[in-house]
Subunit: 267 residues, 2 copies
């Protein structure tokens, strides 16, 4: 490390103290406290902080649902538009979903790439930024902000792109947790099958051996041999039946069915 | 939103452009590209960026291993100490692992809370910051930086704490992916068991019914009934055996055993 870079790094340390607006915004997003239950709330609050930080007029978070369709999960408007129409450009969102690369649209109304999209004209949009919410698996959705003014450049794109990746990590965590809950019984079944593997093979061995002698005895009319082997076969069949049914039963998911009850009687 | 807060938010947007030192450091950490394979490299590079940003003298990333023991996975020294001894205070690390709350030690050598720890005296440490690498499941480890000077306050603590949570999310993602790979076969086994549930129950039904008649026939010496039921029992036993063995076989994990081979012969 050179002397001059050391100098900068010491200044950097102080920057956190004085000029860390971007950091304050990032730290206020609260994305690491995301859960399945609070997702909508946290994303809406995060979007508000983003819209305020960037001075955007509108902001949207759009996520792919289970069927792969894009759903607007959070919207924020500045000023009094209230229940305004969605101002975001579908063409821009589709492009980001496809390439998962961040897009900055400057001079939106004159932009040749999105000239076919009427949103910019209709809502008098000057600049828009759209970034992918990336998880390691796929592009989960986008964050989209726009403004009637023209104030953003690549440095803003970089910040929002970082937020997109950060939000992707946070969403991914929530989805893994959900998946883990869903897979819990399946994993337990598989594990049980593996652990019981040895004793099940023993049962099968005994059943197979005894069945062969029963078969042979029946064909040659040696009923005493049939009876003897049947005494081995029968209890093992029962064990096998019990084991298999229990395993199937265990792996089944039982949805909770809440119902009214007399609580006093239960305790 | 008031007029003055609008004013600030517009300035914030520009801060990313000019004074965003903290953001540049965060963005350079590359934590969202973490994988099982590159973990050590990425963490070491991230730690270098952190140490440089904070102007720290030493930095460490300590993670719990599979057995729950703390392992130093990344170390960075500024200057020429090279292979210096670990300067981090065990007492501080233990406290953060226990409470998972970030700790700033000011006036380290005089600090009454850690007076029993000789590291500060021995290495002439002025300030230290230690934050938890938090995942939703647990505290995975800590990031620790120290300096012989005395330059950090709560604003630095806040930035490093954010990095700790961010790193926690990134590590968690990698661990989920690893877990998913490990569980893949178990989940497939469980799913197969569930899907086959109906036909397995049919087999068991037939086996159970036929076995009862075989049993009755043997006890009452009605060998023709035994023979008839045995014809039903036998093929179902075989199907059951095959099904169970296949399921067990499928769920077993087979480690890859690489060996030399004549590639030309294979193709």
């Amino acid at each position: 490390m050179t002397e001059s870079s050391k100098e900068i790094s010491v200044q950097n340390a102080t920057a956190a103290n004085t000029g860390g607006h971007t950091f304050c915004m990032l730290n206020s997003l609260g994305l690491d406290s995301l859960t399945t239950e609070n997702t909508e709330n946290v994303l809406n609050e995060a979007l508000s902080a983003i819209v305020e930080h960037f001075g955007a007029d509108h902001g949207y978070i759009v996520l792919k649902d289970d069927k792969g369709e894009l759903v607007n999960v959070a919207s924020t408007y500045r000023g009094e538009q209230g229940e305004a129409q969605m101002t975001a450009s579908d063409a821009v969102i589709d492009k980001v979903m496809e390439t998962s690369a961040a897009v900055l649209v400057e001079n939106a109304m004159q932009n040749p790439e999105f000239v076919g999209d009427v949103s910019f004209q209709r809502f008098n949009i000057g600049t828009a930024i759209c970034v992918a919410i990336k998880t390691s698996q796929s592009t989960a959705g986008v964050i989209y902000i726009d403004s009637t003014g023209s104030k953003w450049d690549n440095s803003h794109l970089e910040v929002l792109d970082f937020i997109g990746r950060y939000m992707g990590l946070a969403l991914s965590e929530v989805r893994w947790q959900k998946k883990q809950r869903e897979n819990k019984r399946l994993i337990a079944t598989g594990t049980a099958a593996l652990q019981l593997s040895h004793s099940v093979k023993n049962m099968l061995q005994m059943i197979g051996g005894a069945a062969e002698i029963v078969d042979f005895g029946l064909r040659t009319n040696q009923i005493h041999r049939v009876k003897k082997s049947w005494e081995i076969l029968k209890p093992n069949l029962e064990r096998m039946r019990k084991y298999t049914l229990e395993m199937l039963d265990y792996s089944k998911d039982r949805p909770i069915k809440p119902a009214n009850c007399n609580f006093n009687r239960i305790i």
